[in-house]
Assembly symmetry: C2
Homo-oligomer: 210 residues x 2
DNA sequence: TGTACATCAGTGAACGCGCGTTCACTGATGTAC
DNA sequence: TGTACATCAGTGAACGCGCGTTCACTGATGTAC
């Protein structure tokens, strides 16, 4: 090994990252369950056995990808939360659209593996999404008009919003990005759907049971 | 072959069906991309090469499973449409819940492969779901209060409902069915979410643009 | 600064295994006369 | 009803291939003195 510059630790970290990046790239048209360890190492330019210096298994690598992807998502939300003035819905959908289109691989991975075939990865994604929904629930509680809502109803609403936006993400990823008209169309639909949900909350009677 | 009774054609049909049934059973904890042709034939009690008498490839079998699953879904909706009087939302969620819980394998397959790794299957599911949403759009157009809506807005609403109900199906499939309290909880949330959407439609201004 | 030793990321050969697909076949069922 | 031939669902041997994982190794980097 006369790789490049950096300490041994730094070079190890770099190899680990190229395993993650390569795997994500290969996952563009495949599911994790259909991706082999050998393919990932070949793509990263190391020998198959060296994989084990970085991950216990492909599922382990998958979980690392979940963490990496969810970090992006959280970071986006934190940024979005900072400049919310004006039309919240339009801004939210715009931020989400930009984020997804500039990190398609991560979001394709998240949405595909959410109900995919590797139990440990699936479970990691759903745990993270539950935390994410909980954060949105807290955000919603601060909205005028929702301040006196039951937590249950807030959570139900947050869940509906998260699921709708994830459905939007999936649709967006299937659209041909070279067709801006199609992007605009699914984007308009996403905005309308959020608007419809918000309109629903103005009519919600907290006493309504199930 | 001294199988059992029936014409040659009938016995062929029976083998085909046992390939489909066996595959669906094996897909309980795996994605289609991770299921091998040999496994399916082994489970159906035939030799691997005989597979090709029935399907061109595993993707082809997957598409047959999509058709079978979507038939169930359509049949359920047709039944539900017939006795709609009373609380439409409660009845709809009840029918859907019963249907999903008594055909878990089909619905697990549909939801998992919708964004799964086999392009042809994924595309077949999305085509079917688009038709399904179009049917719901027509149903919605007949609702009092929605009669003068634009088709675009009706489609947007139908899509939101279908996506929410599919998210419910996925959640329901992950719940331990021996915990009736948990089933009741996710079911109540599904009902509330549909109710919230319906309440939103009462406030929707058709002039609202995206 | 120089030396001796420890660490450890990456190597390369080897393994046994299940895979999809080919091919020529068998023998029960179906059909024509 | 009986015979001769065609059809075709399922068989079984064989193939080459990529897979995950084991193991003993190498040699550059890091550390102790």
């Amino acid at each position: 090994m006369t790789d490049t510059l950096g300490s041994r630790q730094e070079r190890k970290q770099r190899t680990r990252q190229s395993l993650l990046d390569g795997a994500l790239e290969l996952l563009a048209d495949r599911s994790l369950a259909a991706l082999s360890l050998r393919e990932v190492t070949r793509h990263a330019g190391i020998v198959p056995t060296a994989f084990y210096r970085h991950f216990d298994s492909m599922a382990d690598l998958g979980i690392a990808l979940v963490e990496e992807s969810m970090l992006r998502l959280r970071h986006m939300v934190r940024t979005a939360r900072r400049n919310l003035g004006g039309d919240v819905i339009t801004k939210t959908v715009a931020t989400l659209t930009d984020e997804v289109l500039s990190n398609t691989a991560h979001y394709r991975f998240l949405t595909a593996e959410r109900y995919g075939g590797v139990p440990a990865v699936r479970s990691a994604i759903n745990t993270e999404l539950r935390l994410f929904t909980a954060e949105l629930t807290v955000d919603l509680a601060r909205f005028p008009g929702l301040r006196d809502w039951h937590t249950d109803d807030l959570r139900m609403t947050a869940e509906l919003m998260v699921n709708s936006m994830l459905a939007y993400v999936m649709t967006l990823l299937d659209v041909d990005v070279r067709r801006p008209d199609q992007v605009a169309e699914v984007r308009a639909t996403a905005r309308k759907q959020l608007r419809l949900i918000m309109l629903g909350t103005t009519q919600w009677r907290p006493s309504t049971r199930g």
